[in-house]
């Protein structure tokens, strides 16, 4: 039954028209990257890598926000959830299966984005070989894996929010806010720490520190600069980031399961 729910979620996601729109947008961005490369003075490879990885991040973020959230919300709205629950599938299993199905969809989309990124970069490399710089295609692939982990974490958060939110729109807003906060707390914290103590109120400091530890630090999963400049990235660091994502995801999903068990389905 678990496998069936995963499969249904994956196929449901693929049938969603938003996926086609997002794919079209990503394809156009990749094509634009090739055109844009001709305008760069020296770091052509770097700029092409920035564009392809940014496209991958943005497209997969849109999949979480416009496909992932919709699938779960539709399930509750159209009461299709009873189909599974009436077959004595435990709620926890159902929710985890839905998460894994969405994860599979994300993995599929990011795999396609990886292929598109590599094709684009190889094309740019072929066109401007002398200016491709120190771009590491291996790190580009790793960066896509990190985008996947990041989006799985965000999917888990969106599931948690959908357990407490009154409507899909609220879930959408909360998930977007969580991503924005998680992507900027590190910068804000660094800025506050480097500012003069008098200029920053202690309340702001406490709030920022709280947000820094409470929200997932999404910047850890951002390897754009590392891949674009071929900077060194240790295996230990990679393992830490992956474990961080896994640990945070498990905690979030545990809370989501707890809330789902107590949720009244009307």
């Amino acid at each position: 039954m678990l496998q069936a729910i995963i499969k249904v979620t994956f196929l449901e996601g693929l049938r969603n028209k938003a996926v086609y729109g997002i794919s079209l947008m990503a394809g156009l961005m990749m094509a634009f990257t090739v055109v844009l490369s001709g305008m760069i003075l020296r770091d052509v490879g770097k700029v092409a890598t920035d564009f392809t990885l940014s496209t991958a991040t943005f497209a997969s973020l849109l999949v979480v926000l416009f496909v992932g959230i919709t699938i779960l919300a539709r399930d509750l709205e159209r009461k299709t959830i009873y189909l599974a629950l009436s077959r004595s599938v435990p709620r926890s299993r159902y929710l985890i299966a839905r998460f894994l199905g969405l994860g599979l969809l994300q993995a599929f989309v990011i795999f396609l984005l990886l292929v598109a990124s590599l094709v684009t970069l190889l094309l740019v490399k072929n066109m401007y070989a002398s200016y491709f710089g120190t771009v590491s295609l291996g790190l580009v692939a790793l960066a896509h894996l990190f985008v996947l982990v990041q989006m799985l974490l965000l999917t888990a958060l969106s599931i948690l929010f959908s357990m407490v939110a009154s409507s899909p729109f609220v879930t959408f807003m909360l998930t977007t806010l969580a991503w924005l906060i998680g992507s900027s707390t590190q910068e804000v914290k660094m800025l506050i720490e480097s500012a003069e103590p008098v200029r920053v109120s202690p309340v702001v400091k406490v709030l920022v520190t709280l947000a820094y530890y409470l929200f997932p630090n999404f910047t850890l999963f951002d390897l754009k600069a590392t891949a674009a400049h071929g900077l060194s990235f240790s295996a230990g660091n990679a393992v830490f980031v992956l474990l961080y994502g896994l640990g945070y995801g498990v905690v979030v999903m545990s809370f989501a399961v707890l809330l789902f068990k107590r949720k009244e389905l009307t």
Binding site: F51, L180, K224
Partner: protein
Amino acid sequence: MRRLTNFVPCFFALCGTALYFYALPMVTVKKTQHEQLFALPANVLRIVSIQFKELSADMLFLNALTWLGGAKPQQATRRYLPEQYEWLHNTLKNSVTLDPYFMDPYYLMNSALVWDRYKIEEVLPVMANGADIRTWDQLLPFFVGFNYYYFLSNGEQSIYYLNVASKRSGGNPFYDTLAARIAYKVNKTELGIAYLEQQIHQAELEGRLYSVEPLKSRLEVLKGIRKIELAVESYQNLFSRVPQDINELVKLRMLDSVPQDDLGGHYYLDDQGRVKSTNDTK
């Protein structure tokens, strides 16, 4: 009647399209110069760019590059307005704040700000920081090393960065020779000649043949200037004053003939006896 009703929507569609193409450019408000020259503070950009810092750095650089492509310097001074330089300076600085490894903004800083002598004391440390963190690159430390001596007469920093360039290039003798010349405080025109020779070499290596010819022309101009400078030095040693003009040097056979300016201008001596060309050789 039926034909007419078919024709009416087509007529209106055609008129609407014509009006659209005619009216749209008229109602598009052209941005004022002040609006175009607005740059956000770097700290704000770092926060609002979230996970797209590198992309924002690219866009800022492209913005500066396209602006430079379209902007025309003032005719009299052949320079941009101070606020235009300031915007360019802020935009490029923001770009490297967002992505300090990005080479192109440094490259543009070097050509558009340093060579136009705009805030060199502020721009050079930013470029030096780039040279420090781009640990694989030899070109940026070369620019920084050259600029420190040529524009700020700072031999110590200059030699340091030229040595860095030498080490990163695997011991390219050009950088060592340049560092040695700076250590002996050679004439700046000679330094300029060495700089252009390196740029020509680099352009040939990278296959940028389109930029070789303009560089060679500039090199010939500098060589002409150096030739006259040597004659002026001999004249000063003999007469303890500067010559009135270049022809005086030719008359005294201190110079075979007035060198040809390949860029179409001509050489002259200013009040202090410095050799210049009517072309801006910077």
